[in-house]
């Protein structure tokens, strides 16, 4: 009887417990769902941001791959060209002359200046190169496509609206009329912007290109790769395979881990104080940039190489030592080749970081305005990310789209490098 009583009491008690649980269950499941939703929301938020970034840069940048050209009938007037030597002749005068012939009704200094402003100053250089290449053109009249000024370019790409009051518009009403006439005569055309990929920097957006910066980046990365790859491997091999466990190797390890997290601009200060002021190396040179970036990427490469050396199983080392290889032979002939894919992956990722890095290079003067294409490791030059930084500061509307285009090129390089790293990892990854 009492036994029964106890079980019922227990049953009521347990029913109460399950009731409590059941009562809270709906709330708890809702909390569960909410929590899960937060997680998805977090991921979606970062992916949305990623796509906004890519889409906005692409949308701003793709028009820069085209440039507006105007067709002029240029008369290579022997009279004008004879006044000076062919290299210093008045080529802008030729351009102005042909513009005057096309629009004979334009009178007055201000109007004429407005007319001349529609053609880029690069047209004169184009004529000069033509004459120097082939002096036979003197005396002929040739129909030529010359680059338009950046304002005309912006107008033909629809960034300058007609309905804006004239005082706030960079293209004036008269210029609009001339442009309309040009387009009626099919003398205005958008073409692939070759200048963007072949020229150095310029103050004129229509003449500015990224090739100088690309070459600067190339030389800088060559220096970085040549130094950081062998040094990184050597350091990793020593620390992983030879180093005794003592205070010194601990110190080295702490240092490497710390350097990996030191802000990149501090490496720039180091480069400024040591390489430029102490050793007197040239400013703005890819050589110095490469040295600074080497110091910056070394920790990354060392850490990746060590991880990949660690992944080689000890049995391989023991087998090599067992048949009489020395420790050095064991490492050079067996361990290192097996770890190489991982090391290469780490190196490529390090190089990608170095390619996108700009802060330390600002410190060593690679922000200069450099028109010439660098031809060596000590020529003053800039790099692609710094070029983006420089252009982003320029007020001209046309530079905004060129900045975006340069960004697209930089991102394309980075994507290629990272994809290669991923491919290498997938292709050669070995699980032991």
């Amino acid at each position: 009887m009492s036994n029964l009583h106890v079980t019922t009491a227990k049953r009521t008690a347990s029913r109460k417990a399950i009731d409590i649980v059941n009562a809270g269950l709906a709330r708890r499941y809702r909390a569960e769902k909410r929590f899960r939703l937060y997680g998805i929301a977090a991921i979606v938020a970062s992916l949305v941001f990623l796509s906004i970034l890519f889409i906005s840069i692409f949308a701003k940048g793709y028009p820069a791959f085209q440039q507006t050209y105007l067709k002029l009938d240029v008369f290579f007037d022997p009279e004008i060209l004879a006044r000076n030597s062919l290299t210093t002749a008045d080529y802008p005068g030729l351009v102005k002359q042909s513009l005057r012939r096309m629009f004979p009704e334009v009178q007055g200094r201000r109007d004429k200046r407005m007319l001349y402003r529609m053609v880029s100053s690069g047209a004169a250089f184009q004529l000069r190169n033509m004459v120097l290449d082939n002096p036979d053109v003197i005396g002929q009249t040739i129909a030529l496509w010359v680059p338009a000024d950046d304002d005309v370019d912006m107008f033909s790409k629809g960034h300058i609206q007609r309905d804006v009051p004239e005082s706030e518009r960079r293209i004036k009403d008269k210029q609009l009329a001339w442009l309309d006439r040009l387009s009626l005569e099919e003398r205005i055309e958008k073409r692939f912007n070759r200048v963007l990929f072949t020229a150095g920097d310029s103050r004129e957006p229509e003449l500015a290109g990224i090739w100088g910066a690309v070459m600067g980046s190339f030389y800088t990365l060559v220096v970085t790769l040549l130094l950081s790859f062998p040094i990184g491997i050597a350091a990793a091999v020593y620390l992983e395979e030879f180093a005794p466990k003592n205070k010194w190797t601990d110190l080295i390890e702490v240092n490497i881990n710390n350097l990996a997290a030191v802000p990149s601009i501090v490496f720039g200060l180091l480069g400024l104080a040591v390489f430029l002021n102490f050793f007197g190396l040239p400013r703005s040179a890819p050589l110095v940039g490469g040295l600074v970036l080497t110091l910056m990427t070394l920790p990354t490469i060392i850490i990746a190489s060590r991880a990949s050396l660690q992944a080689v199983p000890p049995s391989i080392r023991e087998a090599a030592l067992g048949i009489g290889a020395s420790q050095m032979q064991m490492v050079a002939h067996h361990v290192l080749p097996l770890a190489m894919p991982g090391i290469l992956t780490g190196t490529i990722i390090g190089m990608a970081r170095a390619l996108g890095e700009s802060a330390p290079l600002l410190m060593i003067g690679m922000v200069a305005f450099i028109v010439d294409i660098p031809g060596g490791f000590t020529d003053p030059s800039t790099v692609l990310p710094v070029q983006i930084f420089l252009w982003a500061d320029s007020p001209e509307r046309a530079f905004v789209e060129r900045t975006s285009a340069a960004t697209m090129v930089l991102l394309a390089f980075l994507i290629i490098m990272n994809a290669t790293a991923v491919y290498l990892r997938k292709r050669f990854e070995r699980r032991w």
């Binding site: 909390a31 977090a42 906004i52 906005s56 040094i231 102490f278 050793f279 920790p299 960004t407």
Partner: protein
């Protein structure tokens, strides 16, 4: 014209030749197969040893020469300058030397070229050609001499392999100590200039001063501010932007790490994780451009829309974008530590009837907390040291304000603006950049050391 790079190339080719000479010599000494077996090392090691003998001393001479060449030649040229130029104060003399160097490299010189300068430039050019020639002779002679000496010593008793391995091991050690030298270099270069700065501006004024305006009058009579180097507004701005970045990065990064490691199935993980890592691979200059061009105007327009006065270089825009940049950093570090929490803890919690989110919140996260804290500390150190985003999207004006819609400036922005462009190198303005660099280095160093310690301790706990 013999340039150092040609000398270097020739030296490298020479050591390839030395390898071949040494190897052939070993074969010649051995004579036949039995002789080869009797030799101490295989022929390739005799070749390697010869190549190392050829290259290593010559390379040491080469690098020492190129390091000291510039200073010595400059000194020689200065000694030959007329007395009235030599007696100029050091900074003026430096300008003259710079002009001479520019003249030598064919750059445009600002001042007009006089006879003395032209003569000095010619002298400089002559000395440099002479030095290059001498370098080539000395380096190549050293390489060849060492090769010949070793060639004579090759015999069956020469322990070539051991010697090669010893040399290589020393090279490996030298490479791995580079990290220490880099740290020492950073500390010395920053500290040295910072001390010079603190000789002019007292440390207390720098650390506790409330006003930052580094523009200084260069000449005594010039009208302009006298320069104020109180760094509190700069530090405050750095902290505010970093805090905004953390408000974005920590919740989003942590939640996505939790979702990816606890909820997501394999396929979702395989797609979402690399996509998020793209965010980490985008160069900071691109983020900066994006912040200045798109985010800042959007925030300003939105602020004006609801009647707020938003600066076009607001701390909010820079902080938001920086936060996005740091998301993958937080997320991958948290992912690691969450995965390191033993499954047994989760199973125990499920066994007690907890739902998955309760398990995560009450078991997994507390267990992973030290690791997550370490990751967040590392993220803060990245935010403090981040440069390009703030240079492009944050302002220059050092306002001491708690309003994220106002313009603030950061340590890194100030370093960049103080050092980019032409300044004399010993003005307090330039040196201030190094003092800020010192503060930045120390702050990030402390954060990193604490974070690495915390993470390491935590890892050991569950291993």
């Amino acid at each position: 014209m013999i340039t150092p790079s040609i000398t270097f190339m020739v030296l490298i080719m020479l050591s390839f030749g030395a390898f071949w000479i040494g190897r052939r010599r070993a074969f010649a000494v051995a004579g036949n197969r039995a002789g080869l077996i009797a030799m101490h090392s295989r022929p390739v090691y005799y070749g390697l040893l010869t190549a190392l003998w050829c290259a290593v001393p010559a390379l040491l001479i080469f690098s020492a020469w190129t390091i000291f060449e510039g200073a010595i030649i400059t000194q020689l040229v200065v000694n030959d300058l007329p007395d009235e130029i030599r007696s100029l104060p050091p900074d003026r003399l430096n300008l003259v030397v710079n002009d001479i160097k520019n003249l030598v490299s064919g750059n445009v010189v600002a001042t007009k070229i006089d006879q003395n300068m032209q003569a000095a430039a010619d002298h400089y050019r002559h000395l440099r050609a002479l030095s290059n020639m001498a370098l080539a002779v000395v380096v190549l002679a050293a390489g060849m001499a060492a090769t010949l000496v070793l060639r004579q010593r090759i015999s069956g008793h020469l322990r070539a392999r051991n010697q090669v391995e010893r040399i290589i091991k020393w090279i490996l050690i030298a490479c791995s100590t580079l990290a220490i030298f880099t740290t020492i270099g950073i500390v010395l270069s920053v500290l040295f200039e910072a001390i010079r700065f603190f000789q002019v501006i007292p440390v207390t004024d720098f650390i506790f001063g409330l006003e930052w305006s580094p523009q200084m009058a260069i000449r005594e009579d010039q009208v302009g501010s006298s320069g104020a180097f109180g760094a509190i507004p700069v530090f405050a701005g750095t902290l505010m932007i970093s805090a905004i970045a953390m408000f974005v990065a920590v919740p989003i990064g942590l939640m996505s790490a939790i979702y990816l490691s606890e909820y997501a199935n394999r396929r979702f993980r395989a797609v979402a994780k690399p996509l998020m890592e793209i965010l980490a691979g985008i160069p900071t200059v691109v983020y900066g451009f994006f912040a200045a061009l798109i985010v800042a105007p959007v925030i300003r327009d939105a602020g004006i829309g609801i009647g707020l006065d938003v600066s076009s270089e607001s701390a909010l825009a820079a902080g938001l974008v920086m936060g996005v940049m740091i998301i993958p950093f937080v997320s991958s570090l948290s992912d690691d530590v969450i995965n390191a929490v033993p499954q047994a803890l989760r199973d125990g919690s499920y066994g007690l009837g907890a739902t998955q989110s309760e398990t995560i919140r009450q078991v997994v996260l507390p267990a992973a907390l030290p690791g997550i804290v370490g990751g967040v500390l590392l993220a803060i150190s990245r935010a403090i040291g981040e440069t390009m985003i703030v240079v492009m999207a944050a302002g220059l004006a050092a306002n001491l304000t708690a309003n994220p819609l106002k313009t603030v400036t950061t340590v890194t922005v100030q370093i960049v603006t103080l050092l980019v462009g032409d300044q004399e190198f010993d003005s307090p303005k330039t040196l201030a950049a190094f003092a800020l660099g010192l503060v930045l280095f120390i702050a990030t160093l402390i954060l990193n050391v604490i974070a690495l310690q915390v993470v390491r301790k935590y890892r050991e706990q569950y291993e």
